[in-house]
Symmetry: D2
């Protein structure tokens, strides 16, 4: 049985800025920044994303994001290790132990990305499974691959050695001090159109292996879109699962997230967090060979943060923290908004069309209530809504209500039970009622 958390995970992930290339020094610098400037606002996880085991990651950028048949760090049991040339403290077989220890010393938590399965190279080399008489070629499924990354084969269902492999892998990570595992190519195995949740058994093996460690490890599934008809399975075995393909800093993707949140709104709960993906803020894409600023306007950034929070998504920063500007930083310290990802707050879509969306949110116990007015248009838009029509507010009284717009601190215009606000292009007005 999976562990329950008190709120959706909040943290930083290396991918949006570093792609496959992040190094130990860079992780440490971001962790230090988080401890100094963001921890107090609730941010805590520091996550090293994809291919930290690759020695030559990023060296054939013009041809490949992920070099096929590349140069990887692996122990004698088919378990991937940090590339020592990139993570020097891992020398001598210490893996991510020293780095995790450092992150913990800052009062933060440490996470890593993995691809589901076992390295193809381990299978072709017939490596043994740790602590067993089985071999990688016996548990690797040569017909189960990832569409976009060439490193792994899936692990077969129900064959001897399979659970033992995952146990040995996750046990090693737990020994290192890992607090968060983002497993990729598993939430939607998009190569397999007829069976896009083809690795459900690997989710179960991972969940079981995590439970055996006794350690409090978050299990995050990627990539999306997650399958709504398997919601019950994600909820049973994982803590968060991506409801979208990779999200980047484009308005069309942001507007589309409203559709996705509509779909998943009834599935946010204690220890279960449908995941809108990283927040692409500040500087981005250096590892992709093209360092640049986010393309989201400040209004769009507030729209994004408000939606993620009112919906209850995990919040993972996709940014180089050490290069954050003051204005972005102030958004990320807005605890009046960020607190909504805690259990107890329930968000619901009130309305959505091509022009706008409205979300409500209330707290089960405290009775706090919020209303967010989102404007999809490219011009400023006067929006009104009758609070008495909001299902979540059924039976509540709106007399003497003095709504405050949370981001700005301004007061709202209200007539009878109708709230009206002028919402900027692609922006939001977010009211505490």
């Amino acid at each position: 049985m999976k562990r329950i958390m008190k709120k959706a995970p909040m943290g930083w992930n290396s991918y949006d800025y570093y792609d496959t290339t992040v190094t130990e020094a860079e992780v440490r610098a971001n962790a230090e920044f988080m401890a100094a400037h963001l921890k107090q606002a609730g941010w805590e996880y520091v996550v090293v994303d994809i291919e930290w085991y690759s020695r030559d990651a990023g060296t054939q950028r013009e041809k490949y994001q992920y070099i096929p048949f590349g140069d990887i760090e692996m122990d004698g049991y088919g378990r991937l290790q940090p590339a020592v040339n990139r993570f020097p403290s891992s020398a001598g077989g210490r893996g991510f132990g020293p780095l995790a220890e450092y992150v913990h010393s800052l009062g933060l938590k440490f996470g890593i990305h993995i691809m589901r399965g076992i390295p193809r190279e381990a299978a072709h080399r017939h490596l043994p499974i740790y602590g067993t008489g089985y071999f990688a070629n016996e548990i690797a499924d040569p017909s189960s691959i990832c569409k976009w990354n060439p490193d792994m084969y899936g692990v077969r269902r129900g064959v001897p050695g399979a659970q033992e492999y995952y146990d040995s892998l996750i046990g090693m990570y737990a020994d290192w001090g890992v607090d968060f595992i983002k497993c990729d190519d598993i939430c939607n195995t998009n190569m397999y159109r007829d069976n896009p949740y083809s690795a459900a058994h690997e989710v179960e093996m991972l969940s079981c292996a995590i439970e055996k460690t006794g350690r409090d490890i978050v299990l995050s599934l990627s990539p999306g879109p997650a399958l709504i008809d398997r919601a019950w399975h994600y909820e049973k075995y994982a803590h968060m699962w991506r409801i979208t393909d990779d999200f980047w800093d484009r308005w069309d993707l942001l507007q589309d997230m409203f559709r996705r949140c509509e779909l998943w709104q009834n599935h946010v709960g204690e220890g279960s967090y449908p995941d809108c993906d990283m927040l692409p803020l500040g500087k981005l894409s250096k590892g992709f060979g093209n360092e640049r600023d986010t393309c989201l306007t400040k209004e769009e950034q507030k729209t994004m943060l408000t939606l993620w929070c009112v919906f209850g998504s995990p919040l993972m920063l996709g940014a180089e923290l050490t290069k954050l500007d003051e204005e972005t930083l102030s958004l990320l310290q807005k605890t009046e908004v960020l607190k909504l990802v805690a259990n107890g707050y329930v968000g619901r879509q009130v309305k959505r069309d091509d022009c706008c969306a409205i979300w409500s949110c209330y707290h089960k116990d405290t009775g706090e209530r919020y209303l967010a007015l989102f404007n999809f248009r490219t011009d400023s838009y006067s929006m009104s809504w009758d609070l008495a029509e909001v299902e979540q507010f059924r039976g509540m009284c709106f007399d003497e209500m003095k709504p405050e717009e949370v981001w700005s601190g301004e007061s709202a215009v209200i007539q009878g039970t109708v709230l009206t606000a002028q919402v900027p292009p692609h922006g939001v007005k977010f009211f505490k009622l």
Copy 2:
């Protein structure tokens, strides 16, 4: 905003026995039986199913279930009326008023089936919409039809006169005293493969029209399978929606219902009841020209009832009540099982494979807890489960537990926290823990 009920609706529906042919006398007889023998166990709705407006229903059985371009009863505003030759009390424009009154006099509630949309004949005849200057041909959508029934055209989205039509229709039904509306060709408009929820706007119009009546009317959507990605919409506007095509008395359909309940288990709540369809018991199919006994064995019947109840489905009898045998009747009076469809009980699938399924259920407030062991095999099967592994029972204590099998009253075998039972072919053992 839809009304909330205290439990999933329970009642009787004319379809499984009468198809399109039920008459007033037959409805009355079934209602009287319900009042005398079933009301006490919680059964209350008496529902007249499809084509009560057809004067010639059933007369071309060898060619059609639904006669195309047939002889229908309709008022001057395109509103279908009961066929007077079948429902004599409706003469003089009184509609179902007298019949509803009679059902109410027995302490029961009265329901009817409708097809979404407006009669094709009304559109071809350019009939006026009641109380407006609009006409049927202006609101009927000639490209929106039902795949299997020829009577209606869908109503267009957002055209003047459309909501007014539904208001006049539902208002008339409310005046008659209707308590339950089963609307068909709306939950899954299966003709439209690219858009199987193509009549979502008609659901909204119906919900709005019902609210305007001020009457407590259940809105039931048919046929299934409902679309899991539109769960939030059903939940917002309707009380029950079919999660399956027509269910009949076949084991394969019954076993398949476990898959459907798995899918929808997290969607049962206050006023929201995913619907497993009618219970085909006792005598069936006279209206189809072939009166016969249900093909479900007694064990299968208990399996069916236990699943519907532990899941939380509405319970609608598909049987000729006046011909029920004693043994079937006793199942339908088993309040220890039937009570589980009330709000507060939460059912969850524990396990499902090709051989068996296990469901747990507990009450949020009382702490009652149940475990159902279902055997899919054609032989008797010894099933065991560790109660400590059941997620719903997390943190509960199993010391001194004395489980009782609810259907039989027998005591269970238990060792440590492991419950073991011998389950008959296609049968269930249902324990109160």
Copy 3:
């Protein structure tokens, strides 16, 4: 068994200019122009397109292209008749007889458009089938409709009266002197995604009815895209079938036609002509409320004509003939190109990519050979091809070849067996070798 023609049909169709609104006078004027200016180049069919039976066609343009439940001309047997207010010579039940006679008097042939099936109104009114004891409601299939036009119901498969209805309909048309029937909503019944050739039996009934008339009537099926896996069925029963949705004067549609011709290239034969749809030239769209010039450049027009001819498509002008400019007219009189739609010429795609396409064509008996170089780019492009590599020219000798560009009469540059030409943007160079 269908009749065989000597070449793909060539003619004029009223749709692109008039939509549903063409009148007798307008048809006559176009026919007169064809006789005077185009007949000599091989153009012969004059076709009245959709809803000639509608008295109010075009009067609710802002809401509908096809008015639902509109005002139609129909005889007592459910057979549609020309609207007398638009086709005065049809008064007195003479149908299209007088108009056909006039077209014939010009040395041309006369065609009409029909929708498959029987008028919905005939079914709802229970009209008799001519010469039988059956009724429209018995042969109409209320679940078989057209997605985009509200006039008809499909005719059932294998019921008494069905073939008789088509016989009476086509017999009447033959009596009128109809030479060409374009039947719509039949080649791809796009409402029925799971069965887009759902009216195959109506094609067979039409073919049979035509054969019974003893008259030489072309059967043209619409709309596309035709289904390549039903190629054998179209070839057996019809003369031409649309391989595309409606084609209009847009480059993207024109470029896409190359993909469609690739697909169908092996299916052009004697009496079997996959149809690229009308040629939208000169003035267009008056009936749609927006008279305008074609958007195709002169180079694109030559590309279009060359592709249609080298592929072997029927050629139907979608233009107001009386308003044709001299330059367009000269393209339509280019018999050196138009002659390729005759039987005996075999066209094949040599190459196609995102930048260009190459087609070859040769005559089975005369040995004539052609090569067309098409440029998809928006700039002028130097294209070369080795004639020895063209499969169709296998074994031919290219010594002393003096290729001539057909449209311009210019000579080509050739080196060894390599032909080179500078092709204008979206243009073609078409060589006789």
Copy 4:
């Protein structure tokens, strides 16, 4: 440009009897039998099917048909070689040269099966491409695999070294004396549902490599079902392509082949032979661990042979020739039927429904004509057909016709132009007219 043959290929293939396990001695024995008993009837190709390069093929039958990460014979350039333990004459790097030479010495032709692509092991080991400076890991596409066989990676499109790899491979095979290449996982790459002809570029590379050898090599593509919309591509680059999944000795598959032949009937031509797959006759399945007799009745066998011949399919025996019984052998020597697979004969379906099918066949030059009546029912069935209604016989005269049933030599009953015959269950009556 591909070579043209005079008829569809006829031969023997090791798969149906030996699966992956055939040895040199077994191939020789079958070749000798063919030379002695079948050559005269037109049979000539001897084809070694899948995994002749595997040293341990068949040793883990209970777990795998194709052992993943198994023990394969490969040269230093990633080119698979015959396993010496199974094909002793291949020792010393002579490959299939000696075996091909022996087959040729019998007056027969020699063929092999290959999987498209390059061995996974070659890519993981970074082996060089013969005669180039490129390496296997540069041309192998790790995301292009076979769903059911774990041996290969697809070769990338348009990368340096790719064509060179295929040239070196096919060149080596040509040097060995190979006359026939059956390439698998290429006609329908069924793993890739969105793009089932994903290896079209490998077909082109193979065709090009074959042409470069100057040798007359048949290119056969597998598995099916081939994609009808890519018919033109198969026809341009290959000689035969499978129109079905693996065909086995089951009536349902045989009846389904009529549907497939209907679909492909217009695509049989000179050098282009849609392939109905092997003929599972005599003894089968020893290599699958279960030697048995074919399940097809003698009538079904005649039905199969007649359909394959009248349609014009390649004929490849799937049988242990040395164990053929006399009766089966006599069917395989029936040249009056077998000759129909030669160019010049044109077969067409006349009719098909759930009970029966009728095919006609005539020769373009000689005017020979045939009619086959197939009975799908499980009882004997009297079938009649009017020869004047057969499109292929249009204009022919049937006076004084004395039809002979080809298999039996009996005369047919005929009245006017109507041919009548009593056809046995699942059987055929095949008339020469």
